[in-house]
Symmetry: C2
């Protein structure tokens, strides 16, 4: 791979300065996350939310809700935050896959793994390994931290949907049974949050913002 | 203050469930940060960046650049992240103040402190105190964590400006001397980053993207 040192970094840098310059090129590259749009809309102007602001909103959820994690005070909050900060970077290359797009999900992990190689590979090798490890951990959803990160990653769009009269759900004809099936793993990271979410979804159905399961 | 329990939270909740419901109303309220726009533009489409995606980009900077903090490995990275996640929430009420808007800065802290009372006050009291403490710490810029958070908060818009031909600087007629004066406290949190930034700013001047100090 060619060196990603940019125009502001002359070629006669010390090793330390070259490392910093490489890290800064990564920071510039990931600015692209601000232009990856999701199906969820924001509560104020109901425009499509992008991955960067979604990721920030997850960070906020993590620091507000950490106390409710199933694993309690054992939760490594810093690790959860690192995971949610980087969890969507692969979408710079692979695009956002709507949570209910089963066709799109078929090759999703494959496409995202290729993206992870390129994007995390922009970092110095030790940091590339660390960040790739965080993304792999998030995807595997096995550790308490990954389960909690996945719980907020599923809860946040549900919450925005419920506060926008089910905008994204209705645009795609998503029904209550599919919302429950797709998001119930929230309980694996935070059962209290899932209890809240089930009640919230039922309230959306009662209000006519989400359609119940179609009759067979 | 009236209880911020929303439509999805019935009134017969246990204390634990009521606490969670209150936290979730805070999470909904801060969705407004996605509609607070800054002077800085994004590198891809050159639209105005909003505070939510700016805050995410700072989180990313923190986990990539933490090793360069002046205080070294003593840096409490979790605390820095918490600060940058919440540092701009006051702008939901107080609006964004451009870094070079000296008139706007006159009553900025006053306006923001009133905003902090309302916004952090939406949380349960113990958490309201914690979050307000993080914001006060960030503003005071005395601890190593606050100095490092302030360094990335100043560096990130400089970086975006340099990668967009000085877009925000030129729109407001900002010159090199003002950029240096306004941002040099980056050195207090991360002197290596300031060395990089000074070189980057000089490259922007050399490329004609930033005007030098006007002749006296
Ligand atoms: Ca995603």
């Amino acid at each position: 791979m060619s060196s990603p040192v940019g125009p502001s970094a002359p070629s006669n840098l010390s090793a330390a300065a070259a490392r910093l310059a490489r890290q800064i090129e990564f920071i510039v590259e990931v600015d692209k996350l601000k232009d990856i749009f999701r199906q969820t809309v924001t509560t104020q102007t109901r425009r499509a939310e992008n991955d960067a602001e979604h990721s920030w909103h997850l960070c906020l959820c993590v620091i507000v809700l950490a106390e409710h994690a199933n694993c309690g005070a054992a939760l490594d909050v810093l690790r959860v935050l690192k995971m949610v900060i980087v969890h969507d970077l692969v979408e710079i290359d692979a695009g956002d896959t709507f949570a209910y797009d089963t066709a799109g999900m078929a090759h999703q992990h494959e496409r995202e793994a290729i993206a992870a190689e390129r994007i995390f590979g922009l970092l110095p090798p030790d940091q590339a390994r660390e960040f790739r490890g965080l993304w792999d951990e998030f995807e595997a959803r096995e550790t308490p931290e990954a389960k909690f990160a996945a719980a907020v990653d599923r809860f946040q769009p549900m919450l925005l949907n419920c506060r926008t009269q089910g905008a994204a759900w209705n645009r795609h004809g998503i029904t209550q049974d599919r919302v429950i099936a797709r998001n119930q793993h929230i309980a694996a990271g935070c059962s209290e949050l899932w209890t809240y979410a089930e009640r919230m979804v039922q309230a959306a159905v009662d209000a006519g913002h989400l359609q119940p399961k179609p009759a067979a």
